[in-house]
């Protein structure tokens, strides 16, 4: 990477961390007169430190510094107002009067709001489509249920980039669907490069993450409970509403988490199916890092994203305090 701009202290910090770590392992071996079982966790701890904790620290560092490594909150101001730096530069050159003519740039905030809205839509659609599918799959009386489980799993064996690109060949102007429309005489329709196509791609990719947690919680449910509800006077619909749905709530919450979180940070899907007409926060972060090469603003955007995710997680965790939805949260 040409634009890798590690802070000067990063090398020292890593060396110190490694030394500390090796020291602790050595101390543990000595104190326990041999290898303790927890020592086998060392590779994982090391892995986590290098690839999770260290990047988090670096993101925090970049977000709070400028290109010269000075502490600053400018990156967060730039998030709120994308013209902030430009205006300040103008102020230095041409004075306050000229600076005042530069309006607030809301592109970053707008993209975030739009991403949240798309993620919300994607979650709702996935839930509406996924819940009946999960119900169907978990129904022991349906012989098709287990087949459906396999059908849902098989596409997941393929990389999601491939699957998204496959959608292109279906939706594009010369694609399969349009060929069909043409054949029945309806004429070709613009299916791609709009918000609906992006939503379709997102739902398609994230639907299994909604279905499986719900399916798990439904199939763990004692079928006798549904029978008890019927015995006490509930018809099928009321049984669903009064017993099955409340008991599958942990699965629903876990499904919402697993769809909403990655939906907000989606990138690539909007680029392929949205054709640049729709931009989501994931794309914004990516282009800030790679195209603009602004690691500091990119980190600030990532940090904001992470904080938002943590807040939503803690709200969802309140709704499912036992973590019964498969322990995903």
């Amino acid at each position: 990477m040409t634009n890798l701009k590690l802070p000067a202290w990063a090398g020292w910090a890593m060396a110190l961390g490694l030394a500390l770590f090796i020291g602790m392992v050595a101390l543990s071996v000595r104190r326990n007169h041999g290898v303790k079982r927890s020592l086998f966790a060392t590779p994982y701890t090391l892995w986590m430190m290098i690839f999770t904790i260290l990047p988090c620290i670096l993101i925090g560092y970049y977000a709070l510094t400028d290109a010269n490594g000075r502490l600053t909150l400018d990156n967060f101001r730039s998030f709120w107002d994308s013209n902030y730096i430009m205006r300040e530069n103008l102020r230095a050159v041409a004075g306050d009067e000229m600076a005042a003519t530069v309006a607030r740039g809301s592109v970053n905030v707008d993209t975030l709001v739009y991403s949240l809205w798309m993620a919300f839509l994607c979650t709702v659609v996935s839930l509406v489509l996924g819940y009946p599918a999960a119900l169907f799959m978990a129904d022991r009386k349906m012989k098709l249920g287990s087949t459906l489980v396999v059908l849902f799993i098989i596409p997941m064996w393929m990389n999601f980039l491939l699957r998204t690109i496959a959608w292109m060949s279906l939706l594009e102007d010369n694609g399969l669907i349009n060929a069909f429309f043409d054949w029945v005489g309806m004429g070709r329709v613009q299916l791609m490069y709009n918000q609906e196509a992006v939503l379709l791609g997102m739902v398609y990719n994230f639907l299994p993450f909604m279905v499986f947690p719900i399916y798990t919680s439904l199939s763990k449910m004692d079928p006798k409970l549904a029978e008890a509800a019927q015995d006490l006077g509930c018809n099928s619909f009321r049984t669903l509403y009064k017993v099955t749905m409340p008991l599958s709530l942990p699965g629903v919450i876990s499904g919402i988490t697993m769809v909403f979180m990655p939906s907000v940070t989606t990138f690539f899907i909007p680029r392929v199916l949205g054709g640049g007409n729709t931009r989501m926060f994931g794309d914004l972060i990516e282009s800030t890092f790679k195209t603009a090469g602004d690691w500091n603003l990119g980190s600030a955007l990532s940090l904001i994203m992470m904080i938002l995710i943590l807040i939503s997680l803690s709200i969802l965790r309140k709704a499912d305090p036992n973590g019964e939805g498969g322990g995903i949260i």
């Binding site: 019927q230 015995d231 006490l232």
Partner: protein
């Protein structure tokens, strides 16, 4: 037998799963206010019978009548019966009070009426003050009580109970047996009870229906079933028995172990093969030379009230219950009074 009207009538009920016959032509009726027990080993079809009455299974052939009306096609939620499930099936997302009130809320009863009835039920099952508790925090016995209350609060015409005491320890089970029986008498509700525990069946029932491999083997009062088992299976399943192949020489004379015994049964024909059933407590141990049979004591077990001895008479090893112990290896005489010798038609092999 009581002359109450028939509540439930099963007519020629058969049930097959994937070609395997689970119930084969069951005919049975249950009278109002009767306590009927379906008794049999696991897999005998007793639970399936109960589920057909509850509406959770559909019979392959036959009809279910409720007060004379065909309810075979009526879904469970429209039947005037309630079920107490084997493992209670209490709703984990509702507290004790809401579990009991569940059926009443479905019926859109007024808040005040629901509260009144639920309180009455909590009182009946001795669970006052537990209304706000979560069902997971209750012991097995308490959950059982709530399950019973949840069913009874709907004032069903018939209560179906599927091995409701199976998960409880012995002492609690005995207590609950008595409580259930007194509840049934107090409320005047028809109970249909499923169990594999013969003692439970004998204690609680007005009528016992003994089932095996999808057939009804015998229907009768506990006393009839115990004293006059219809065949060797029933004799063996209800209490302990010695079952031995014998020959009916003529009326009131049967031969087994090479000895002729006077008995009280007749009508089997002459020189007919029969099964002879003798209860362990009906065999008397006498001096070596005065018994009808002689044997050697092979083993002795102390069972609390009595000793259980295995006594080998050459052709057959008898299980004998007696309050006096005979030492292992001693020679004893065995004798049975005619009244305690039960003669039965030999069982068809498939029914065993």
């Amino acid at each position: 037998m009581s002359q109450e009207p028939r509540m439930i009538h099963l007519e020629n009920i058969s049930k097959e799963y994937d070609g395997v016959t689970v119930l084969d032509d069951i005919n049975l009726y249950i009278r109002k206010k009767e306590f009927v027990t379906l008794l049999g080993p696991s897999g005998c079809g007793k639970t399936t019978t109960l589920r057909i009455i509850g509406g959770f299974e559909y019979p392959t052939t036959g009809r279910v009548l409720f007060e004379g009306k065909d309810i075979t096609d009526i879904p469970p939620y429209k039947r005037r019966v309630n079920t107490v499930f084997q493992k209670y099936a209490l709703f984990p997302h509702l507290n004790v009070r809401d579990n009991i009130a569940f059926g009443l809320k479905i019926k859109k009863m007024s808040r005040a009426e629901i509260d009144k009835r639920v309180d009455k039920m909590l009182n009946l099952v001795n669970m006052n003050g537990y209304g706000k508790r979560s069902v997971d925090s209750l012991s097995g016995g308490q959950q059982q009580r709530i399950a019973i209350a949840r069913s009874l609060v709907n004032e069903p015409e018939v209560l179906l109970l599927d091995e409701p005491l199976g998960a409880l320890d012995l002492k609690l089970r005995k207590e609950m047996q008595l409580e259930l029986k007194s509840m049934q008498q107090q409320l005047g509700i028809t109970f249909l009870y499923v169990t594999h525990d013969q003692e439970e069946a004998l204690t609680m029932s007005d009528t016992i229906v003994v089932m095996n491999t999808g057939h009804i083997l015998q229907i009768g009062t506990p006393k009839t079933i115990y004293d006059e088992p219809a065949n060797a299976f029933v004799a063996n399943f209800i209490g302990e028995s010695n079952i031995i192949r014998g020959t009916m020489i003529k009326d009131e004379l049967v031969s087994f172990c090479g000895v002729d015994f006077p008995c009280v049964d007749s009508g089997f024909g002459e020189n007919a093969p029969v099964d002879v059933v003798i209860r362990p407590e009906d065999i008397m141990i006498l001096g070596e030379d005065i018994g009808q049979l002689t044997g050697t004591v092979k083993s002795v077990l102390f069972k609390g009230v009595h000793y259980e001895m295995m006594i080998d008479s050459g052709d057959f090893t008898w299980k004998v219950h007696s309050t006096t112990m005979q030492p292992i290896g001693s020679r004893v005489g065995l004798s049975v009074v005619p009244f305690n010798i039960h003669i039965m038609h030999p069982m068809k092999e498939e029914a065993k």
